[in-house]
């Protein structure tokens, strides 16, 4: 098992370097002058050429691209992603400050989504073509089709403006997380319900399910212990992808709900050509995505022993 994880970790190194090159290259090809941006952020709408030149020097922008990349990467591996042009704060610190909020939101949303999707998907598969199944499928279709910003506004209108049960936006108190998490959970639940249903339908007609039933296992054990366990491989894969995407920041939802997570922060940085932050964000979230993928891969070993055997055979 440890050997398997070590091998997977080694595979990540070239991918991570590729991400770092991509992250850095963004700053070279995107339009706009960060030095001018810093000065304008400070209230100077028309900085003089001297001010711009001095700022370029201060930010190290007067150096050639490859030199800047090597400096940046060597600092990055030591945990220094530079300072934000927009806010002046250390980038890693800013990302680390905001990431827990995004992680909380993403984990609650995905958990909520799974709690809705798995039972609904199983029921839908077990009672295929019943009105319950039809209802679940329509619900999933609607949930997957409704844009998150639309859903967010509707939920605010209902729960905050009309019923006054929940706050509109912000992160001042724990219940602030409910509406953004619900918005994201509905989208996640919709796609996961459809996936669970189709994966379960596939498993339920397999020979091992018939065998399990023939040997007298209780239906619950057949469904949960056998069919669902096999269906989980696909569900875990998609959940991992969705979780990784949300950990990179649910930009629209965070913006609408003024949730001070990583997504909103990076969008502000993009609009302000805050290259150190954008680069740091790409590297940071790229690393998170790689780690989530690694976790998913490792989970396959638990879910499906054939993965481990396959690894041994190699």
């Amino acid at each position: 098992m440890l050997g398997y994880i070590a091998r997977r970790l080694l595979y990540l190194v070239p991918v991570w370097i590729g991400i770092s090159i991509l992250a850095f290259a963004l700053s070279l090809i995107a339009p706009g002058d960060p030095a001018r941006q810093v000065l304008q952020q400070g209230g100077i709408d028309a900085p003089s050429p001297e001010q711009v030149t001095a700022m370029r020097r201060e930010l190290g922008l007067d150096q050639p691209g490859p030199v800047r990349y090597v400096r940046w990467l060597s600092s990055a591996v030591r945990g220094d992603l530079g300072r934000s042009i927009r806010t002046g704060e250390p980038v890693l610190q800013s990302l680390a400050d905001r990431f827990p909020r995004t992680a909380v939101l993403a984990l609650i949303a995905v958990t909520l989504g799974l709690l809705i999707a798995i039972p609904l998907g199983i029921i839908s598969a077990l009672f295929r073509e019943s009105s319950l199944d039809q209802l679940a499928r329509i619900g999933a279709l609607v949930g997957a089709s409704v844009p998150s910003f639309w859903l967010a506004y509707l939920l605010i209108l209902l729960f905050a403006v009309r019923l006054r049960l929940l706050p509109v936006a912000g992160a001042a108190e724990p219940r602030n997380v409910i509406l953004p998490a619900l918005t994201l959970a509905i989208g996640a639940a919709a796609s996961l319900t459809r996936l669970t249903r189709s994966a379960m339908l596939e498993e339920l007609v397999q020979d091992y399910v018939r065998t399990a039933r023939a040997k007298g296992l209780r239906e619950r054990a057949v469904i949960v212990g056998h069919a669902l366990r096999n269906a989980l491989t696909a569900i875990v894969t998609v959940t991992g992808i969705r979780l990784a995407a949300l950990l990179g920041g649910a930009v629209i939802v965070e913006t609408i709900f003024a949730w001070p997570g990583i997504g909103k922060y990076v969008v502000d940085s993009i609009f302000n050509r805050d290259y150190p932050t954008i680069q740091g964000f790409v590297l940071f979230t790229g690393t998170i995505v790689l780690l989530v993928n690694l976790t998913v891969d490792v989970s396959y070993v638990w879910l499906d022993p054939r993965v481990r055997l396959g690894a041994r055979n190699r």
Partner: protein
């Protein structure tokens, strides 16, 4: 001075506004005053305000907490800007210009910082030096620029010749902080004291009962950073905040337990015409084309249909109030299709079979670039202008750029004929925008600094006028020179087509009294505001 850069705007503003309007009940507010002080006041004077995304910088060199872009009234400036753009006393009670390049300020006596220490000229010197270390700001100061003459007199001499320093010093980036204070814990002389700043969430201030301008009635203000404009309005409707800005597109449709109040004109919408040549983008060199453009667009329709009445027709681009009585000299243009057509006919631009005019085998096709501060800000004005230009035989192709940086990158290359911009006037210098946008480029100067000049500078006559504006020493002379510059741009060279002056619009709870919307957001005052029962 800064032109507003709105960084995020939901693409579905109108649709959401419609939902909000239909989903909520309550009375419809209208433009006007925000109440009177005669009402019985609430026992708890705590106000919550929704404001846009947190734009403060927070580092050891350039901290702007409490100052800019959200002015939390923690600090005072030496001079302030009235809602009609006149320079007024602040921490300085009077000032005089001392040739060749110095302003001498007499400081207000008896003023104390929030920790009780007295305010003196050394605090002004320290604050100016702090900005000098950051690069010198708009005024262009060095560490030697501010000199304390005595405890209550200070001289400010910019590095280079700058007679507009007085008008620039009204901007809150020129706030006066206590000498030696930590910028992350703002220490000013303003009507409110700093309590708490939580990045991306809120800044909280409380009343400064020793304020030299009088004790504020409000005890506490919480400014909540809510980046999405729709969410700010929803927070107002839910009663979570008592004041929020309202997008002009939805000001007429949104309802709730609040009134809608608007400022005088502070921002503008305008089209600049590329007057300087660039291969493929040189038709704006033809004065007849520029003149016809100016007569083609119906500004009243822009105001009434596009901006739904939340703007007014202006002919000056910058707020007319800043030019005083001189503003009346700029006559501008109104839509006159027959006149526009005749101008083009006389210039040899003849309509072809497809209705688009031609001259010497070249079609009258213009590229209209939309993207400052972002494309969404202007919607649907460009399409409206495009349709009206077609009526006189001009084919305008719309190119949108997503944000300021990509817009400026295109402008630096000069790839466009018509450039649509929205901006705002945030200080008292009427020369600034015309100078920035239309002065001739400096040979060998910074490429981006020259990008406007390379496209829009009409030449020597304008440069001479704007020089006069820069060097004037009295308000009357500044206004006269700025008006001359504007007249040359609008009435003589047709290099800019001012379309509308836009208002700042706020939704204000009916319990909020005496809130006056300042046309420049960074100058907003909070010390007169009260809450009724």
């Amino acid at each position: 001075m800064l032109r507003k850069r709105r960084v995020l705007r939901a693409a579905v503003m109108g649709l959401v506004a419609l939902i909000v309007a239909t989903a909520c009940s309550g009375t419809t507010g209208g433009p006007g005053a925000t109440g009177t002080a005669k009402a019985e006041l609430a026992a708890v004077q705590e106000l919550t305000v929704a404001t846009a995304a947190d734009g403060y910088r927070n580092d050891d060199k350039r901290t702007t907490i409490g100052m800019y872009p959200l002015n939390a009234n923690i600090f005072d400036t030496l001079v302030t800007l009235s809602p009609d753009y006149q320079v007024m006393p602040g921490l300085a009670t009077k000032w005089e210009f001392r040739s060749p390049n110095t302003y001498r300020f007499t400081l207000r006596s008896g003023v104390k910082f929030h920790d009780g220490t007295p305010f003196t000229s050394k605090d002004v010197v320290w604050s100016i030096q702090r900005i000098a270390k950051q690069g010198g700001g708009t005024v262009g100061v060095s560490e030697q620029s501010a000199v304390a003459v005595d405890d209550l007199t200070v001289d400010i001499t910019p590095k280079g010749q700058n007679l507009r320093a007085l008008q620039q010093l009204v901007h809150p980036t020129w706030s006066i902080a206590k000498a030696g204070s930590d910028a992350a814990k703002p220490m000013g002389t303003g009507p409110f004291k700093f309590v708490e700043y939580v990045k991306d969430q809120r800044i909280v201030v409380e009343a400064n009962d020793d304020y030299w301008g009088g004790k504020p009635t409000l005890r506490k203000i919480t400014f909540r950073f809510i980046p999405d404009a729709n969410t700010r309005v929803l927070a107002l409707q839910a009663g979570e905040v008592q004041i929020s800005d309202i997008p002009k597109e939805s000001a007429k449709t949104i309802t709730g337990d609040f009134t809608v109040s608007r400022s005088k004109v502070g921002a503008y919408e305008a089209i600049y015409v590329k007057i300087r040549p660039k291969e493929g983008y040189d038709l704006g060199q033809d004065k007849a084309v520029r003149q016809a453009l100016a007569y083609a667009i119906d500004k009243k329709q822009v105001v009434e249909s596009v901006w739904q009445g939340n703007a007014e027709v202006i002919q000056t681009m910058i707020p007319p109030a800043i030019l005083g009585s001189e503003a009346g000299r700029i006559t501008g243009t109104d839509r006159d299709v027959a006149k526009a057509k005749k101008i083009l006919d006389d210039a040899g631009w003849k309509a072809a079979s497809d209705g688009i005019r031609e001259k010497n085998g070249r079609k009258l096709q213009l590229t209209m670039v939309v993207g400052f501060p972002n494309a969404d800000t202007h919607k649907p004005m460009p399409e409206f202008a495009q349709a009206q230009l077609k009526e006189i035989g001009i084919d305008a192709k719309i190119v949108t750029t997503p944000d300021t940086a990509s817009y400026e990158a295109r402008l630096a290359k000069g790839d466009g004929d018509l450039w649509v911009e929205a901006g705002s006037q945030n200080d008292g210098n009427p020369c600034f925008l015309p100078d920035l946008l239309f002065s001739s480029p400096i040979p060998g100067g910074d490429e981006e600094s020259n990008m406007y000049g390379n496209s829009f500078a009409p030449g020597e006559s304008f440069d001479a006028t704007i020089k006069r504006c820069r060097e004037a020493t009295s308000t009357a002379d500044v206004q006269k020179a700025a008006a001359d510059a504007m007249k040359l741009l609008v009435d003589e060279q047709f290099v800019v087509i001012p379309l509308a002056g836009t208002y700042r619009i706020n939704g204000i709870s009916k319990k909020v009294l005496d809130f006056v919307v300042h046309p420049a957001g960074v100058q907003q005052r909070w010390d007169s505001v009260k809450l009724a029962k």
